[in-house]
């Protein structure tokens, strides 16, 4: 379970998160929506410790992400993350991209790491691209590669930071399908997204962020059908 209490985050003098309280249960799919600059992506970075926080706590299965005593590299193995830019390692084949972290971080034997990588690449539909270098893959395929790379660490949570927003429109579907597949398999997911269809169909809950505040959270039907917050209604009216 992820428990966030009173989370405040500043970039210099600019406060981007203004006291966020949020719990995400195991097996839950939470979509986070909101305008650019509302703090959605920063929330994910704070959850896996890629950004320091100024106030509050983030607990992952009871471990304080930002405590000095926490082994953050170990904790991050529980928290797979997929970014807007897929960031494939260009010097490695698809298989090597996925096998690298299990080998060097988890200390798996080379053959075992390759087996894990092959399994995860087949999982995301890239079974025929094992020995292909990323620059010969499309954006959608590279993003699925990034998902496989995160899954190879056998995370308990997956954080998606606008995973489809850098893709050409015709490539969005294949990545969303992979995310849907993970949701169906019971993966705990926090998805920062601009894909309202995905948020509505796949999520258990949807959170709307507005200027660093979590303005509203609830089931998709409520958020998309009967939003309580005026800001949420305005935002949804604009994106539809």
């Amino acid at each position: 379970m992820i428990e966030i209490r009173g989370l405040e985050k500043y970039f210099g003098a600019l406060q981007v998160l203004k006291g966020i309280d949020l719990d995400v249960e195991k097996g839950e799919v939470l979509s986070v929506i909101g305008a650019s600059g509302s703090g959605k992506s920063t929330l994910l970075y704070c959850i896996n410790g890629l950004e320091p926080i100024q106030k509050g706590t983030v607990l992952v299965d009871g471990t304080d992400v930002h405590a000095k005593t926490t082994d953050i590299n170990k904790l991050r193995q529980k928290l797979g993350m997929v970014f807007q830019q897929w960031n494939s390692f260009p010097h490695l084949t698809a298989l090597e991209n996925v096998a690298l972290a299990p080998k060097i971080v988890k200390g798996k034997a080379k053959s075992e790491a390759r087996d894990i990588a092959e399994k995860q690449l087949r999982h995301v539909g890239l079974g025929d691209k094992l020995n292909v270098y990323p620059n010969n893959l499309s954006g959608g395929q590279q993003q699925r590669l990034a998902i496989a790379r995160a899954l190879a660490m056998e995370p308990e949570y997956m954080l998606f930071d606008e995973a489809t927003s850098a893709l050409d429109p015709e490539l969005v579907g294949e990545v969303l399908d992979t995310m849907r597949l993970l949701a169906e398999e019971g993966m705990t997911m926090i998805c920062v997204t601009h894909e309202m269809g995905f948020a509505r169909d796949v999520s258990d809950r949807v959170a709307y962020f507005h200027q660093g505040v979590m303005d509203e959270i609830g089931p998709p039907d409520q958020i998309f059908g009967d939003a309580k917050s005026e800001n949420t209604r305005k935002f949804l009216a604009n994106v539809r």
């Binding site: 170990k74 010097h91 060097i104």
Partner: protein, 220 residues
């Protein structure tokens, strides 16, 4: 009639052997300086990248001096003044020390550029997989950044190999010094400098060809 005494004698096959040996000394002093200088330069480059203010204030000006002052001046100054501080090095030792520092000063900027070539999101992605700082450096930054600045490093290495000719001013008999000795004896500068040039080419060409081949392979 008295016979004319000649102080000069023509170029012989033995002289070619003499030049070959000198070329090996050029290769040896260059390989040593470039290897140690590259390792040091990478460390300096990393310090410049990570050290921020402290490195900018201390290391950067020192490296600037070694980059800016002509190598021949550094060699002569070091060779003549090092004994004052108790470092009594022969021409080879002095040459290696100065060429190494000179290489490291040039490589430091190349290395810093290499680290900067790996964008922050890529490094964040590596860290998000649970990699430590040093795993990220070793498995992500080094191969990606290294490839980005490899051509620049090859340029530095080839430059230093040619600059190693300046160690001749200290009396170390590398290729250029050997050529000067032979020119004095044979009075055939055109022939000997052409042969010396061919030796330099023979040392440099395989390196640049191999580098080009590597770059082509990486580009695929």
């Amino acid at each position: 009639m008295q016979e004319t005494i000649s102080f000069f004698s023509g170029f012989t096959p033995n002289d070619l052997w003499f030049l070959g040996e000198a070329a090996l000394r050029t290769l040896w002093i260059s390989a040593l300086s470039i290897s140690i200088g590259t390792v040091l330069g990478c460390a300096f480059g990393w310090m410049l990248y990570e050290g921020k203010l402290a490195a900018t204030l201390t290391l950067a000006p020192v490296l600037d001096v070694f980059r800016s002052v002509p190598l021949i001046i550094q060699l002569v100054l070091f060779y003549n003044f090092a004994p004052i501080v108790g470092l009594d090095l022969d021409p080879f030792g002095s040459g290696v020390v100065i060429l190494t520092i000179y290489t490291s000063a040039l490589v430091a900027n190349v290395a810093r550029g290499g680290i900067e070539a790996v964008e922050r999101p890529m490094r964040r992605a590596a860290r998000s997989l649970g990699m430590s700082y040093w795993q990220d450096m070793r498995y992500v930054v080094l191969p990606i950044g290294g490839r980005a600045v490899f051509p620049a490093w090859v340029g530095v290495a080839l430059g230093v190999m040619k600059d190693s000719a300046l160690v001749s001013v200290l009396g170390y008999v590398e290729l250029l010094k050997a050529s000067q000795i032979l020119i004095t004896r044979t009075q055939e500068p055109f022939l000997i400098l052409t042969i010396a040039g061919a030796f330099y080419f023979a040392l440099s060409f395989p390196i640049s060809r191999y580098a080009a081949k590597l770059e082509k392979r990486w580009a695929q």
